[in-house]
Amino acid sequence: MVIDTNRCVGCDACTLACKMQNGTPPGVLLARVLEKEEGKYPAVKRTYLPVLCFHCENPPCVKACPSSALSKRPDGIVAVDKEKCCGVKACIAACPYDALYFWEDQKGYFGEDLTPVEQYYYRRHRLGTVLKCDFCAERIKQGMVPACVEACPVSCRHFGDLDDPKGPIAQLVKKGAKQILPEAGTRPSVYYISNSGGRA
């Protein structure tokens, strides 16, 4: 995935499209938007950074998991098997991007009693296990793009096969899209376009 931060206005359509698609419980935001402020008044610059799991080539979460619940799939997606997850949270500590969440409280958005739509959402998860972005694997299987990509009103997300050298994603990377925290050695599969004076 390549995200053009110059176009992002931080509207959180991605955040909530993800929440709806993945039916995540309170406190879990598999996609979210971070803010950064640089400079001194009046020469200040604020930027938004939409983040999610970076589906690293060298994923520390997979290595950290003692129960082999996390795996790097052949298609590049880092996935969690909720049946295998035993909830030790080592993966959460290992991820330098704070991309993994833990479902530890059955409470819904309005307290103990879940609303009908929350019952529908949460029954796909297992309490006491890790929740993470899987690039909307089910949607991809059906030929769609991840929910966050489809929802972005300013089309700042590009999705495709990073390994296809002629594909649009590899082209954008070639043009200078950057990874975040490359020094962590995780080799993320999510790249960012930024600092082109606000233009795409």
Binding site: A13, G39, R46, P116, G198
Partner: protein
């Protein structure tokens, strides 16, 4: 006919979003009878498949367990903020009959004693007609209007003959925003503008945001120019001065043909008129002769200098404008706005060049002027005293550059030549909106008849605006002081939380307590319901049926494309059973009309206002529901085949626009004003009525050319109350309306949306830590508390308070106590209300201390 709410099915239902006022087309996924997903409707021309975060949170409101599910009756006669009404559940029949009896009594005595406040547009044409049929003039959006565009609508009506404006983004090369967050999931056509601006920016459009705060719009702009709040008029007038008097960049042809710039003005400020016809005169400088403005043989218009006509020394309005603004030098305006003089000069040069005066573009084989420059504003620069003069100052930038309703500029929304409108020219040659809704005039021309107040918003003494909503609360508290010839007795309040969004809650509470009987229709028990005697449950928008045929003055895009008509349809059933089919609150109002005995008047009014013909004409004595009314209206508008059933299936009907509808400027001769002669006459008439009423209003803003004047807060020279507090809108909530939505609340918490913004250096000086609790105190002693965000992204003299939060109703636990009760800070009085626009000044001096 309605959607089948069957189990076992999995389908996407087309309807409209109602999380803000922009009505994006959405698809809602219904699986086994449960609404589970929302997404943008790709087939909908308004938003082309995209929606913002607010829209995606709709299901949390739909399935909110705190929904009102049965009619409620108050058993505690004492009313007050935080006082438990001691609700008792009652039957629908008891509730309906109680309210119907009150309505009957008032209708027989004096229907004006009833007030109807609303904030909703679906089926607006049903319930507004219902209350008009009842006979009260007190039908309005109400005092919450102080958060709206204030000067925007009257100015858009004056310059575009439409209720709102939009920008021709595909062609615009320079967008100047003043107090607007267009492009950042806010303002008019929020989502559509966000996508269009992103594309225009990628194409190279330059964007400059002038705002005390570095907004989300500033984030995507090329330049943020911080400005002292309430000084936008000074900035605009300095740009105007530079363009007209130094750079000499203005569209002379446009000004001569399409504005009143060449009209001759006498020394007393009135137009020089032709004695027989009373038409304003111009001076033909080729023939050396005065002629009526519309004479067919004008060779050229005198534009500068002066000329003697019948022994009277007259000047063209353009010359008066140029002379008038000469004092707005960059150096002086820099002192007022804190914007460096060099920046003001630079922006003037940039916008002058961007307008490309003289350039043309050929569209559909027709050559049109191309003026790729737009200036736009919204609440930020308009919620001030002297708001109308500020709006005129900003609008004149587009006017002198000829950038209105031509490719690249600011456009009507919808078109002057839209399906429900028709152009008109007033006696003085100025544009008057035609069509059903604007026929009575709601803009700055012509002068509406001024008379003694009869309506609690005093609209009768606001001749250039459709109401003076900021007055409502004051008038309700003491109607006799304003000459209201009756005492209001009852209010029906539909989906507007006046207790939290209409200024000081204490003042609003005092006003509401004056009313004998209050009915609230809502999905939740909010702060206003706390004052109700009867509460009816409302349907959620995903349970509602409406035909959205009211495209005149809504959210239709300007420029090429289509006009659209949509419906909302029930995705699921409401969580209550009513004795009549309730698919919208409109059905409730019809039921009340039926029980209170004014159904005949209502149906007759619909026949007239909807222009129903042939088989669609209503039997005045028969009771129709929203469903049948929508069906008849749709068929009446679009033919037998395009009834409600068609809309339920297709969701949206589109009609292609032609070139004249897209860019109407060159296709008619109606002019727009640079000079407001009518204000002088308006001032005379308003002051005559005010004298009769012994009401002392300062009418000095009724002047024919604009000025910047300081907000009342600037006159407080206290070293104690040293910061200017402003209120701003946030992208993840619609006013306070969505504050009870837990998904949006979670976002707001995560993004620190509820925090008060203070400049980092200012905060340090006051010993305030980022993230700590602080107190804001006004000079009148009001104190509010909140968490503070220290940031470099706000003017050092300013405190920025977000949204309308700090709510206290127990019926909305998610909203309870979060954020700042910003309304409390506002000061309502004759000194803070703009008598031209009805705006309430949102700029208040405060003292900031750690809590």
């Amino acid at each position: 006919m309605t959607a089948q709410l069957a189990k076992g099915a999995d389908e996407w239902i087309p309807t409209l979003c109602d999380m803000c006022y922009n009505y994006c087309g959405i698809l809602v996924r219904r699986k086994d009878g449960l609404a589970v997903e929302i997404k943008g409707n790709p087939d909908h021309p308004n938003n082309k498949g995209k929606v913002c975060g607010k829209s995606l949170a709709g299901l949390m409101g739909l399935y909110n367990p705190y929904r009102v599910k049965t009619p409620l009756k108050r058993t505690n006669p004492e009313k007050g903020i935080g006082v438990d009404p001691k609700w008792k559940e009652i039957s629908w029949d008891e509730a309906l009959d109680t309210v119907a009896q009150k309505l009957k009594k008032i209708k027989a005595e004096d229907p004006r004693k009833l007030i109807f406040y609303y904030w909703e547009r679906f089926n607006r044409d049903i319930y507004l007609n219902c209350f008009h049929a009842f006979g009260t003039p007190n039908v309005s959006i109400g005092p919450a209007h102080i958060h709206c565009g204030n000067n925007r609508h009257p100015i858009d009506i004056t310059y575009h003959a439409s209720f709102r404006e939009s920008v021709d983004f595909p062609r615009c090369n320079y967008l100047l925003l003043l107090g607007s967050q267009l492009g950042a999931a806010l303002d008019t056509r929020a989502t559509a503008a966000m996508a269009s601006i992103a594309e225009a920016r990628a194409r190279g459009m330059r964007m400059v945001v002038v705002d005390p705060r570095y907004t989300d719009a500033a984030k995507i702009a090329d330049e943020w120019i911080p400005i002292r709040p309430g000084t936008d008029a000074a900035f605009a007038l300095a740009l105007l001065n530079l363009l007209l008097n130094y750079l000499h960049i203005y569209d002379e042809r446009y000004l001569k043909l399409y504005t009143n710039a060449p009209y001759l003005v006498r020394p007393d400020g009135s137009y020089m008129r032709e004695p027989e016809t009373q038409k304003p005169l111009i001076w033909d400088c080729k023939d050396d002769k005065a002629k009526p403005f519309d004479a067919p043989d004008i060779k050229d218009f005198l534009f500068e200098g002066s000329v003697a006509v019948e022994g009277v020394e007259c000047k063209p309005a353009f010359q008066l404008l140029r002379d008038h603004i000469r004092t707005y030098t960059p150096e002086r305006v820099s002192q007022i706005t804190t914007i460096p003089a060099a920046t003001i000069r630079k922006i003037a040069q940039e916008i002058g060049e961007a307008a490309q005066i003289g350039s043309t573009v050929t569209i559909d084989g027709v050559e049109l002027p191309l003026r790729p420059f737009a200036v736009s504003w919204h609440k930020g620069s308009s919620a001030h005293k002297h708001s109308m003069l500020a709006g005129i100052s900003m609008k004149l930038l587009s006017v002198v550059l000829g950038a209105l309703d031509v490719p690249g500029g600011v456009l009507s929304m919808p078109s002057l030549y839209g399906p429900l409108t028709a152009p008109d020219v007033g006696a003085d040659g100025l544009m008057i909106p035609g069509g059903l809704r604007h026929a009575s005039g709601q803009g700055l021309y012509p002068l509406r008849k001024v008379r003694k107040p009869e309506t609690i918003d005093l609209r009768e003494i606001f001749p250039f605006r459709f109401s003076g909503n900021a007055f409502d609360i004051m008038v309700l508290t003491n109607p006799q002081a304003y000459g209201i010839p009756y005492t209001p007795e009852m209010a029906v309040i539909y989906r507007t939380n006046v207790m939290t969004n209409a200024g000081s809650p204490q003042e609003v509470a005092a006003a509401l307590k004056k009313l004998q009987f209050i009915v609230v229709i809502g999905t939740e028990l909010d702060e206003t319901a706390e004052f109700a005697d009867i509460v009816f449950p409302d349907v959620h928008y995903l349970e509602s049926l409406s035909f959205y045929g009211d495209i005149d003055g809504t959210v239709q895009a300007g420029g090429p494309g289509v006009f659209w008509y949509s419906i909302t349809q029930p995705v699921v059933e409401p969580p209550f059973k009513s004795p009549f089919k309730m698919q919208h609150a409109g059905d409730l109002f019809i039921e009340l009309a039926s029980r209170a005995g004014f159904l005949k008047e209502f149906n007759s009014l619909l026949n007239i206002n909807w222009n129903l013909k042939g088989p669609y004409v209503l039997d005045p004595l028969k009771r129709y529901g929203v469903e049948e009314l929508s069906d008849r209206r749709a068929r009446n508008m679009f033919g037998e085949e395009r009834g409600l059933e068609w809309f339920l299936k297709h969701g949206v009907l589109k009609q292609e626009k032609n070139l004249k509808q897209a860019f109407h400027r060159v296709f008619h001769s109606a002019r727009v004003p640079v000079y407001f002669e009518q204000f002088l006459k308006g001032k005379e008439e308003v002051s005559r009525i005010c004298e009769e009423l012994k009401l002392e209003l300062d009418l000095s803003d009724f002047q024919p050319l604009p000025d910047w004047k300081p907000c009342p807060a600037y006159k407080e020279n206290s070293s104690e109350f040293d910061l200017l507090c402003i209120n701003f809108k946030v992208y993840n909530h619609s006013f306070g309306m969505t504050a009870s939505n837990p998904w949006l609340n979670e976002l707001a918490e995560q993004r620190r949306t509820y925090d008060i913004w203070i400049n980092a250096e200012t905060g340090r000086r006051k010993g305030i830590q980022d993230g700590s609790r602080i107190k804001l105190k006004t000079s009148s002693g009001v104190v509010v508390e909140g968490n503070v965000k220290l940031t470099e992204a706000i003017h050092p003299e300013v405190v920025g308070v977000p949204g309308v939060f700090g709510q206290w109703a127990k019926g909305r636990p998610t909203a309870f106590g979060r954020g700042v009760q910003s309304s409390s800070l506002l000061k309502r009085g004759l000194d803070t209300i703009d008598f031209l626009s009805g705006a309430l000044d949102h700029c208040v001096k405060v003292k900031v201390t750690p809590a």
